[in-house]
Amino acid sequence: MNAALLDEFGVGDARERDESWRYSKTALRALSQQDFTRAEALSTLDAPLAARFDWPQTRGRRLVFINGSYSETHSDVGRIAAGVSVRHEDGQRLQLTLTGDSAEPVHLVYASVPGAAATRWQASADLDLRAGRANVIEQFVGAAGADMLGVLHSRITIAPGAELHLTTLSDLPDSVSQYRRVNTTVAHGGVCRFTDAIFGGRLQRADLNIGLDGEGARFESRGAFVLRGRQHADTHLDIRHAARDTICDVLWRGVADQRARGVFHGAITVAAGADGADARLSNKNLLLSAQAEIDTQPVLEIYADEVKAAHGATVGQLDETALFYLRSRGVPVDMARSLLIAGFCREAFAGVADGDVRVRLDALLAERLPHSQFDQEGVAG
């Protein structure tokens, strides 16, 4: 295989790289065989694409990157809070520093706009939460067309006692692939609540590395992927408990229909000396077709003495008894299926504190579900 992308996205020695890409090797190989040239830095977007991130609630606090480059035209930073400082060196390296409480979210948008032939973009973001509480929304959108590959490297630093709510919403057309690496460190008493919603895409790989470096640091991860057609999503969580009394709580859901492929790898390591650590991981998946495939790998490595840990992973089908229950009350079969699938995913989104984002997630879920036949209020609860 053309090793270029594996070298670029892989970490560790040859064996580790191979292992980490085990379930997505074919998809990566196909990408490696294509010649991606650098995507153009566009200044404007088509109205339908712009409409997808033009949320009234985040106007004045929105940073937009088109093909990895900062867009003056679409960004709107007029009402950004005093405690937030934004820099973007050479348009591609974002530095976001947050201090003090800012309840209003900062909305980061990464848009992929294809060219005539296959293109790729690359960007990086540093998110530095120095104190207080912050709410950040990260959104990935794309237009259909020639193949694209987007690459984003993020670094998140959470200071002692600070709390970050990060919601990532990635909804891509089948011609767009994406690689995200997020390296997060949480200092003592710090909290990171991360919700990740993944829809569509040709190959969406996310490597989420979290270091619970300070005593009492806490990481909560919620997420779901909803895939159909030949979409492929691969999420790797690598959580390291490096200090005493650190907590991680992971709850992910996956849904794959038709020939879609989903991968979830959740690794938790409790280092020697990280006594009192509490690690929980739950991953449940729904297969909606015989051709779909979901691979889930929970991995728990414990080197400390006093640790509470629980993990579980399942891959199953829609609950026939629940389906019958809904139908027996008069709900038509397609709608009953949609209700159940949405309810299944919604458990992962219930914790999103920002009401507006939660409503948008629900709406997107309803739209992207197989057999979608109902409006967004169906998943409220």
Binding site: E320, F324, Y325, R327, G330, V331, V379, A380, G381
Partner: protein, 253 residues
């Protein structure tokens, strides 16, 4: 209203119903009693249209139509309601939305106009008040985290809301304390009318002190072996199911 004739049903290759015959007229309440494993729940599931039941012989006619050829949702729209022995927990699906969807799908099927949110909520409040159920039930996910009693109340509430013509209650009394059971019975009694039929499946006579049936049937090994009025339930209570078996043996000898 409901006419079951010589019904034979297999589940996973095993014959469970072995020639069951039962007639339920409009306005009648029929109790079906019997020991565990007699096939009582199978009967309820077959009538509601659950998959996995193979009908090898016999027929079920409902208001002149072949009930067995209808999908579960069509049966519901035609007025058949099954209160589950074990109501299913569905996290993430809101009770109000689910019931509004169910009700409007039924109304659409019958050619009636669908209810808007205001009309629906007005109806919900009425029914909740009659049954003395708190409206916080409606804001929760379907049965998720409900106690056994709450689940059964929710079944009765759904029945009251959907106003079926044929209601089948599958061991709705099981696991209930006396107050919850009275509430269930009150819900059923309030709905008794000349147009509506009930099939009350129960293991114990106790429920029938509160829902007084017009007919009592004893089901053993996949068929009805004895039918009578409410006094049959009292005899069963006194002598146990062994009594029926002995009587059958004596009759055969």
């Amino acid at each position: 209203m409901l006419k079951i004739e010589n019904l034979h049903v297999r589940v996973a290759g095993k014959e469970i119903l072995k020639g069951l015959t039962l007639d339920v007229g409009a306005g009648e309440v029929h109790a079906i009693m019997g020991p565990n494993g007699a096939g009582k729940s199978t009967l309820g599931n077959v009538l509601a249209g659950r998959e996995g039941y193979e009908i090898t012989q016999g027929s079920v006619t409902y208001n002149g139509r072949n009930l067995l050829e209808l999908e579960p949702e069509q049966r519901a729209a035609e007025g058949v309601f099954l209160a589950f022995q074990y109501p299913v927990e569905i996290p993430g699906v809101n009770n109000t939305y689910f019931l509004k969807a169910a009700m409007n799908a039924q109304r659409k099927h019958r050619g009636e106009t669908e209810l808007d949110s205001m009309q629906f909520l007005k109806l919900v409040r009425e029914k909740l008040r009659v049954l003395h159920i708190s409206d916080d039930l409606m804001n929760r996910a379907v049965n998720a985290g409900f106690s056994g009693g709450e689940k059964k109340r929710n079944e009765i509430f759904q029945m009251a809301l959907l106003e079926p013509r044929l209601a089948i209650l599958d061991e709705t009394d099981s696991g209930l304390d006396i107050d919850a059971m009275k509430m269930v019975a009150d819900g059923v009694n309030a709905m008794r009318s000349a147009e509506r039929g009930f099939v009350v499946i129960t293991h114990y006579q106790r429920l029938l002190d509160y829902i007084v049936p017009d007919f009592v049937h004893v089901m053993v090994d996949g068929r009805i072996v004895e039918s009578g009025d409410k006094s049959l339930a009292l005899k069963l209570e006194e002598h146990g199911y062994a009594w029926i078996a002995e009587r059958r043996l004596a009759g055969a000898a």
